[in-house]
Amino acid sequence: MRLPESGAATAAPALEPLLIELQREGRGGRHVRGGEEAMAHIPRDVQRTAPLRLPELTEPQVVRHFTHLSELNYSVDTGMYPLGSCTMKYNPKVNDRAAALPGFAEIHPAQPDETIQGALELLYETERILAKVTGMDAVSLQPAAGAQAEFTAILMFKAYHASRGEGAQRRRVIVPDSAHGTNPASAAMGGYDVTTVKSDARGNIDLGALKAALGPDVVGLMLTNPNTLGLFEERVRAVCDAVHAVGGLVYGDGANMNALLGLARPGDLGLDCIHINVHKTFSTPHGAGGPGAGPLCVRSHLEPFLPKPRILRDADGTYFRDTAGTDRRDPVGLGSSIGRVHASSGNFGVLVRAYTYMRTLGEEGMVQTSEDAILAANYLLARLRGRYQVAYDRTPMHEFVLTAAPQKKKGASALDIAKALIDEGFHPSSVYFPLIVPEAMMIEPTETEPKETLDAFADALIRIADRVDTDAASLHDAPRSAPIRRLDEVSAARKPVLRWQRPT
């Protein structure tokens, strides 16, 4: 419980002082001390002359400061997070404890293979499970997040086409208009042009428009299935066939895999590869924005281009990195591999959590996870359909998208509704995404919310809809129950203050 008692003077009324407002010169703890003799070994002319004005605080002050700050956060540990596309499911504590074991937390990526057999076995098994879940043949655990997996795949597509002498010819990546922003951004980082294809009335890719966009210059298609409307691509195979017909490849954005565990394998649907956001599907904590991990699962024709090092298993059951993580066997070239996208082997600590979770679930648990995720979304939609307009009204998978366009006409935007949800005790849903839905409200309850919580959330949204009908303006100053009111984002961007200002 937080009461503002620090006694520190703040530059402005504030929820909590800044560290520099709490510090005092001459204060400080004693976490590490010594080494005075070191300075004799550092040439005078390279020694620091710039002042090192880090705040000087005691541990008690630091503990209170960050404890206070933490209590200002909404989190999975404190409430439901209906964020569409984010799969904010519960993050099991045992996963965190496993990752913190000294045998995992205190090992260095450059250690010899024989000193990290347990880590290599865990990574190897993680790859195998992911391959089975996605129906792919090979996996790289290097990408630190979904977006990096997308970029990695784009680089692999480039290498693939180049290996077939079509490198120069293929310049365009096709992206549906419902795609997440990282898709076109990743394609652009790959040096490619982006062609956007519109969606049809049922929320699928417009197959006609796709075919029209296809040609010999196409690198491939970036497909999210279920897509960001929460809808399963009804002609997914036809879509993949069309792309393959022109020699293109199909990238799977796996952000929505939480709908498909044990229900469908992207590999069976014609995709050439797919990434997994383990920080969504496999329950690793979002960490207030990160870290995540974005394993990239590919079919065999793309395997030669995967990042190095790969993790392999010897006949005798020992595990090793095909380049010992150091490319010793091949110090300069990397064969057909695109190389490395991560200085180490990826976000190991996140993968330990995901592996723990996957072993906890097992096959049946995976199936139930997606079944319950779909069940929860469809139940919520059933409860809300009467009071909100559904963007594309067909059976969704694990999430669905409403449009607040009708409410907007009455004077309350999706943003107003989002802020009103805070006063109802809930984190807002995703809003204004996907871009193709005006006043979009994207809702993903996940499988870990009890029915009574789903009902409370539905009741809240319905109360808000009623308020919009009777007094839409009353939403404009929501939230009122949060620690702080709406913030001035415009001047934040116009006159950016990006670090604390010292009283000089």
Partner: protein
């Protein structure tokens, strides 16, 4: 009869499920997944059965027991990933559920904890690096270096990138892979040849202290780069910046590096913390999230993600990067770490590494045939040259003495066979004694044949 859930985190009873299906108006889940091609529906995955928490905990402990943690014996690996002391309050605070299980702070009213903490990270790092702008994190050091190069390419419109071969090999590898995207021309050269290669370059990338711990004259490279219209990207390490003139003071335009030593466990290389900083003028080319200060409608100070028009969710293919999920919690860890250590603590940790590296180097250099291979001054790691070569020595140190010695340069520098030995405040006298004793013994045994011949 109750069927217990196969997903132990699922709250639904069979009755809940019945009620929900009824409300939806279907008979079973299968009625909800008809869009999936029938022949692809409900495949068998072939996964093992689920476990109880007690079982999975035991399984993970058995895997962890097959690894040799740094704490289990003498340990001298380092470089981008370092064994550093982590104060007890760091995990106790940064891993509180309210931080660890929060989402990206897109809703600032319920995310002030995250936003102020990240703002403080940006501020602390800006003080440490003496740089004006620090973003809220990149994935890790390698991609931070690559994104720094991409920034320079966008700023200068040039596609040539010159990088010192004394930059961590892994970083150069990541840069090469990233460079395949925009087809960059990447030139690797010795630090003292860089100036001669700078023509037409978007940037010069140099590391100080370098992969061998060496002290590099960044200032003169800054001048050379600027004369050629290129930017200077410095790769550095946070602890070194406490004792060495910081990048901002040396004139660097962009700084990239690894923040793991700031309280983040080694964890086999991740998740870590990509540091990316730049001069104010370059802020609109900065990738990733940036937190800014503002006020609410009542004038109360608050924080928000700002300058978002740089980002993929707004600009899509025109964004400065595709990064979305970053390493926010690692930035919060670093903020807590820096707040706890303060200037004196950070200097002490850095000094202890330097002091021990030089003490160890002096003892090793006294062993017949051994020498420190660094030409000039070095910081908290050094290259050990030994008879028979560093690679063989490291191999024997592990087998014969259980010592995890430094990184073998042979792996990244064909023809150069040294061991890079890192010290930090965690390096103990006992570890150094064991190391010196073992090297002495091994070198002696290596030399015998020589003596014989």
């Amino acid at each position: 009869m109750r069927r217990s859930n196969s997903n132990p985190y699922s709250p639904h009873t069979n009755e809940d499920r019945r009620e929900m299906l009824a409300a939806i108006g279907v008979r079973s889940i299968d009625d909800l997944i008809t869009a999936i091609p029938a022949d692809a529906r409900r495949p068998t995955l072939g996964l093992p059965a689920g476990m109880s928490e007690a079982e999975v905990q035991a399984h993970l402990e058995s895997l962890a027991a097959k690894n040799r943690p740094a704490s289990a014996g003498p340990f001298f690996l380092g470089g981008p990933v370092q064994r550093r002391y982590i104060p007890a309050a760091v995990p106790a605070l940064a891993f509180r559920g309210e931080f660890l299980t929060a989402y990206t702070p897109y809703q600032p009213e319920v995310s002030q904890g995250t936003l102020q903490s990240v703002f403080e990270y940006q501020s602390l790092m800006s003080e440490l690096l003496a740089m004006e702008i620090v973003n809220s994190s990149m994935y890790e050091g390698g991609s931070a270096v690559a994104e720094a190069a991409f920034m320079a390419v966008r700023v200068t419109g040039r596609k040539k990138v010159v990088i010192a071969d004394s930059v961590y090999f892994q970083y150069r590898r990541v840069l090469r892979a990233y460079g395949r995207g925009p087809d960059l021309e990447i030139v690797e050269a010795a630090a003292n040849d860089l100036a001669s290669r700078v023509d037409g370059a978007a940037c010069v990338i140099v590391q100080h202290p370098d992969a061998f711990g060496g002290i590099v004259d960044v200032r003169s490279l800054v001048d050379a780069a600027h004369v050629a219209g290129a930017l200077l990207v410095q790769v550095t390490e946070p602890h070194a910046c406490a004792l060495l003139e910081p990048p901002g003071a040396l004139g660097a335009d962009i700084v990239a590096g690894e923040g793991q030593p700031l309280g983040i466990p080694m964890s086999y290389g991740g998740p870590h913390l990509g540091i990316l900083a730049c001069r104010e003028a370059l802020v609109r080319q900065m990738p990733g999230r940036i937190v800014g200060e503002t006020r609410d409608v009542n004038g109360v100070r608050g924080f928000v993600n700002t300058l978002q028009t740089r980002e993929q969710h707004i600009r899509r293919e025109k964004a400065t990067s595709n990064i979305c999920t970053n390493e926010a919690i690692a930035a919060i860890v670093a903020a807590v770490y820096l707040a706890l250590l303060g200037p004196e603590g950070l200097r002490s940790a850095a000094r202890l590494g330097v002091a021990r590296a030089h003490a160890l180097a002096a003892r090793l250099a006294r062993i017949p045939g051994c020498a420190v291979a660094n030409e000039g001054a070095y910081f908290d790691r050094f290259a050990l040259r030994a008879p028979g070569g560093g690679f063989a020595l490291g191999w024997r140190l592990l087998r014969e003495a259980g010592i995890i010695a430094g990184d073998a340069t042979l792996d990244h520098y064909p023809g150069r066979d040294d061991l890079i030995v890192q010290c930090t405040e965690m390096t103990t006298e006992a570890e150094m004694d064991a190391f010196v004793e073992a090297v002495t013994r091994i070198v002696a045994s290596t030399r015998e044949p020589v003596a014989a011949g």
